[in-house]
Symmetry: C2
Subunit: 200 residues, 2 copies
DNA sequence: AACGTATGCAAGCACTCGCTTGCATGACCG
DNA sequence: CGGTCATGCAAGCGAGTGCTTGCATACGTT
């Protein structure tokens, strides 16, 4: 066969998985047909089945890869400046959500049909949530969060705000008048005040 | 034909629209086949086409109905007790989102394929967002929100938190340890503090 | 050179989908 | 009664869809 129009042929398997993920994000499970995936990957349709056995198996592997944890976050063990630390974390977390918004939306929309794709406790968002909650606990322990609140709810407040922003910003532009960066700064400022962590 | 197994036959058109909405919420645009919709509505498949012309037209009408605005909210013109007023509003808004979570998730997941279904500025959530923003402005004008913040971002904070909760609670149960009612109370308390509206 | 492996290509199969057609039947109305 | 209208039913058509089979071709290893 052709050695591939590029110098090194880049693992075929990975090329197929990428194509599958992209098509899935755009058109969902039903919409991503094996013929289209093959074409986008520049590969014959039969190859999909020889590699993965079935469309279902292929898509499962593709999506699981696409939603894998993206590594530990960046919240310090010993909090010192809540606002700055939370801002860094929030920007990073928002970026991850924003870049994957298409797959995430599709997967959420089809979760009742494909519960196998349910985010597990080890998923990226679940990890981020735990990290944030633990950080908040450390803040409180260090006397840096002086307000009264339930930690899980507080964590979900910031997580949810970022999540909703990243998922809705491009489809409801009229509701988001601030640029992402500016908006995130505002979210964090509001959050810092909500948990009583203003520096003074 | 049979007069319907029920006393009054309940507008056929509406029965079809309901079935279409239900199936769409479960299986999406592609997944909701005309044969299934017809069966669920207890109607012959041909009838769908005679009434609506095409599957596309049918689903568009069905979804547009399902996402229609649910009437004006309940935020007072003249704010007096921010916490109580926001709590009532938040519980009502969360209920709306929770009840429609299935359709909303599906529609969001397919928005790139079907942008016609984009929530317009007159949609329920858009209206709720504007209402909340205007209410916050009134709070500020009345000296009841003493913190410094950008109103749009503040509104999106509470809206986003409620949205994320209603959309994710059933599919990421491990992330939501508080019962809905308790969680919403916490969200509102945190929000009230964030905008500096604690009563004292 | 010989062989195993990975891929391509063409054809096809059984099935589903949206949609149409033709005809029968019952409900309502003048 | 006769006529129109809404609906049901059966059949089918053309276009996909997931997946399989058979065969040819190229590469790497020995």
């Amino acid at each position: 066969m052709f050695p591939g129009y590029l110098g090194r042929p880049m693992d075929l398997r990975q090329k197929i998985l990428n194509a599958a993920t992209e098509l899935y994000a755009e058109t969902g499970f039903r919409g991503a047909t094996t013929r289209q995936i093959a074409q986008l990957a520049g590969v014959n349709e039969v190859t999909l089945f020889r590699h993965f056995g079935s469309k279902t198996a292929l898509l499962h592997e593709a999506i699981r890869c696409a939603c894998a944890n993206s590594g530990p976050g960046n919240l310090p063990e010993e909090p010192a400046h809540p606002r700055a630390e939370l801002l860094t974390w929030a920007e990073l977390h928002w970026d991850v959500l924003w870049n994957r918004r298409s797959v995430i939306r599709t997967a959420m929309g089809e979760i009742e049909e494909h519960p196998e794709l349910l985010p597990r406790e080890s998923s990226a968002s679940a990890c981020a949530g735990r990290e944030l909650a633990e950080y908040i606990e450390r803040l409180r322990a260090a006397g840096l969060a002086r307000a009264e609140f339930a930690t899980p709810a507080a964590a979900m407040t910031l997580m949810g705000t970022l999540f909703a922003d990243a998922m809705s910003r491009d489809i409801m532009p009229f509701a988001y008048r601030l640029e992402p960066k500016e908006a995130i700064t505002q979210y964090v400022d509001l959050f810092v005040r909500a948990i009583g962590a203003e520096e003074r």
